[in-house]
């Protein structure tokens, strides 16, 4: 897996309700899966809520709802 610089903001760092725009998906075994599911550059992502352990995340991606773990959200590079 590609090591991301700590300066890069990912969807895992989004606060609840904060809006992020996806810039790309980090290189990993899951990148193909994430792109297929619609995590495309330019898409809007909002974390609506999480469980009391802090993972998985309940996200709104464009017009759909998706649950994903924090590790997977950390592969989604975003800008705000």
């Amino acid at each position: 897996m590609e090591r991301l610089s700590p300066l890069v903001k990912t969807a895992a760092m989004l606060a609840i309700g904060e809006i992020g725009i996806i810039e790309g998906v980090a290189n990993s075994e899951l990148s193909s899966k994430l792109v297929q599911m619609g995590f495309l550059p330019g898409k809007k992502i909002v974390i609506l809520r999480t469980t009391f352990t802090g993972t998985p995340l309940y996200a709104q991606l464009g017009e759909q709802y998706i649950a994903l773990r924090r590790e997977e959200a950390a592969l989604l590079i975003i800008r705000q």
């Binding site: 899951l30 193909s32 899966k33 297929q36 550059p41 998985p56 017009e63 709802y65």
Partner: protein, 699 residues
């Protein structure tokens, strides 16, 4: 294109494929497995308006031809298989209009494989009037494919599709991405030549996924590995590029077809504020699990009692009218009892699958997985495993069958392997009698009675050992799939009853006919072991009783006892005595252990026979068991050490042939069923041994 011979249903998960399949095929469905795996393969047939019958195969839902999970691999294997390609099936692609963009991805890939495709668009009728601005004609023109608005629940639109299929001309699909290829054409030409294909996309996918394609020969794989190495080809980035390129083309199509995509279902948003709430959502999920347990524990008891009493009456009646021969016994105590033992599980299986059907169809199950993921993943399980584990507290048989809904193969196998450790209702009669012997007088500890605390402890032990074993076994089981959770949370919908009831019916049928065969065989073997003995030993023993105890009131019980003791079952009980003596068990318990392999509750009935009391007389049995001594000594058999040891043995041991039969069916091999039998017996033996030794030496 020649006439349509076979229809393949393809689409994303939650696209509405199941409803369409059920609509098209009706009740004529064959449910099996895809070769080599335990992914469900549903096949049926449908009749076209011109009377021609076309077979329909339902492929698992998948998002793309670049797979990460077993079900997705199955779709890839099937669509790339040269045999399938040569048979030229027509693909009926099901796409959800409310999420058209993502549903077009897989379609674009299918087009590139060269299949003839008909597109069915679902959920069109769920759109609000203001949102019905999708232009399906534009979609059809953009894709150069026939597109129909369909509804699997009402059947709307399906006749038009069938009509189209009768007249289908040979539409040749253009490659979706035009001349563009992700992999250099020179490389693709090499591969095409080798594979004897003229399709760029087939060559590209072969290069990207050759390690996972079972139809490729070792030589082909070596060839592709070589090409991959020489050109420094990286499969994963190329899959991402392929997908992104496709979306680049899909987004304008989506924009042309619809000016504004529908807003996410606001009802689903509102409901999920409660159902997926970190606290209320979890409590509610717990309530759902308790409800499922209650349904198969309590509600199912009524039809189960009815089935049992029907078979008991039939048994008694047949014994009364038929001559008292071995053949009658085979028919009644062997065959009929075995059949009753199979059918008695039907209510639980039906009820559990109706409930699971509702949970899946409404979309709630995805929320349950979301809520429990962080806890369950530690044990290598997921939220659907919890439904099985809770059901396992009523009965492991429907619970093991319910694991079909778990798509990750390792999570599913782990759930199957540990679910029978949950204390099921068949253990209760065993627990009750042994606890009564262990704690004869009511003792209170605080506000609780000691007896119920022990009972609670046994259940708790079941739960802890199931989760513990799962965590323990996890690293040793093969995991061919990536471990991740990126899961669509579908819009809440009212369940479609046809899907729910068809599925429950299929489950019942597969249990009765597949697992039933094994159960019947084992119960006939157990019957034979209990009714035959070495040489004339049983008759000799009976004659002895007849001459010495003529006037005794429990004459009949004594004969039954003598016959059982001298049967093969009795012989086995005595034979295994040295092995079970370290646990504090004598040969009488040995016989009960062997016979209760049919079902745990049989323990009580066998003990009643061995101790010469009536099967319904619990008090007498308890007294006899308490008085029982070892051989000719006055040492009691059921000391606290033995009782605890035997209780622990029943907590852990796989004393249930029906579960073994179901595990064999669900894992599609004897390997895991036998492994499970061994590990559970080992666990039972060692804990019973440790407890017996400890109590004897330290208390």
């Amino acid at each position: 294109m020649p006439e349509v011979k076979e229809l393949l249903l393809v689409g994303n998960p939650n696209a509405g494929k199941t409803s369409v399949f059920n609509r098209l095929t009706g009740l004529q469905q064959q449910v099996g497995n895809f070769p080599g795996v335990t992914v469900e393969r549903k096949k049926g047939s449908t009749t076209l308006p011109n009377g021609r019958i076309v077979s329909v195969l339902d492929l698992p839902g998948t998002y793309s031809l670049h797979p990460t999970a077993m079900e997705e691999y199955i779709v890839l294997h099937h669509l790339l298989n040269p045999v399938v390609l040569a048979a030229r099936p027509t693909i009926f692609y099901i796409a959800d209009i409310t999420n058209l963009e993502r549903h077009l991805l897989l379609l674009s890939q299918i087009i590139c494989l060269g299949y003839s495709v008909v597109v069915g668009v679902t959920m069109y009728d769920t759109l609000r009037e203001s949102e019905k601005n999708y232009n399906l004609e534009t979609l059809s023109a953009q894709l150069s494919l026939p597109v129909f608005a369909i509804n699997g629940r009402t059947g709307e639109g399906l006749e038009a599709v069938k009509q189209y299929l009768t007249e289908a001309k040979g539409a040749v699909n253009l490659p979706f991405l035009g001349a563009y290829t992700v992999v250099a054409p020179s490389i693709l030409n090499h591969i095409k030549e080798r594979l004897g294909s003229n399709n760029n996309y087939i060559a590209q996918i072969a290069l990207q996924h050759y390690t996972h394609l079972p139809h490729l020969s070792q030589a082909d794989k070596a060839f592709l590995a070589d090409i991959s190495r020489k050109n420094d080809f990286k499969s994963l980035p190329s899959q991402v590029t392929d997908t992104l390129k496709r979306f680049e083309k899909i987004l304008p199509i989506q924009a042309a077809v619809c000016d504004a995509p529908p807003a996410p279902e606001s009802m689903t948003y509102k409901i999920d504020r409660y159902l997926t709430h970190p606290v209320w959502g979890v409590l509610l999920f717990f309530g759902v699990l308790l409800g499922v347990f209650e349904a198969i524990f309590s509600f199912a008891a009524y039809p189960m009692d009815a089935i049992e009493s029907l078979f008991t009456h039939l048994n008694t009646y047949l014994k009364a009218v038929l001559p008292d021969t071995m053949l009658t016994s085979l028919l009644t105590d062997g065959f009929l009892a075995g059949l009753g033992g199979i059918l008695v599980f039907v209510p639980q299986i039906a009820i559990l699958f109706l409930l699971i059907g509702i949970l899946e169809e409404t979309g709630y199950m995805a929320r349950a997985v979301y809520l429990s993921d962080s806890l369950m993943r530690r044990f290598g399980l997921n939220g659907r495993s919890l439904v099985s584990l809770f059901s396992g507290m009523a009965c492991a048989i429907p619970a093991v069958m319910a694991t079909r809904t778990i798509s990750n193969q390792r999570e599913r196998l782990l759930t199957i392997l540990v679910t029978p450790l949950m204390s099921c209702s068949a253990r209760i009669p065993v627990y009750v009698i042994l606890i009564a012997i262990l704690i004869p007088q009511p003792v209170r500890i605080g506000i609780f009675s000691a007896q119920s605390l022990v009972m609670f402890g046994l259940y708790f032990l079941g739960i802890v050992s199931a989760l513990g074993m799962s965590a323990l076994l996890k690293p040793f089981l093969p995991n061919q799939e990536l471990s991740y959770l990126v899961m669509e949370l579908p819009t809440y919908r009212v369940p479609y009853w046809r899907n729910v009831t068809l599925r429950a019916g299929q489950k019942v049928r597969s249990f009765v006919f597949d697992a039933g065969k094994i159960i019947l065989t084992i119960s006939l073997i157990l019957w034979a072991l209990g009714n035959f003995g070495p040489a004339n030993s049983m008759d000799d023993a009976e004659r002895k009783i007849r001459t010495s105890y003529t006037a005794s009131p429990d004459f009949g019980h004594r004969i039954a006892e003598a016959r059982l003791e001298n049967s093969y079952l009795g012989t086995i009980g005595k034979f295994i005595e040295p092995a079970i003596r370290p646990l504090g068990f004598d040969w009488k318990i040995g016989i009960a252990l062997v016979s209760s392999f049919a079902a745990r509750e049989v323990f009580v009935g066998t003990m009643a026979t061995i101790y010469s009391v009536g099967a319904d007389d619990d008090d007498a049995l308890r007294t006899r068991m308490k008085m029982a001594t070892r051989g000719n000594t006055d040492e009691k058999v059921f000391t606290p050490a033995t009782s605890v040891s035997l209780l622990l043995f029943y907590v852990f041991a796989m004393q249930c042939m029906s579960t073994i039969a179901v595990v064999k069916r669900e894992t599609n091999s004897w390997k895991w069923a036998i492994f499970q039998l061994f590990y559970m017996t080992f666990l039972a033996y060692s804990t019973a041994f440790l407890a017996f030794t400890f109590i004897n030496n330290c208390c």
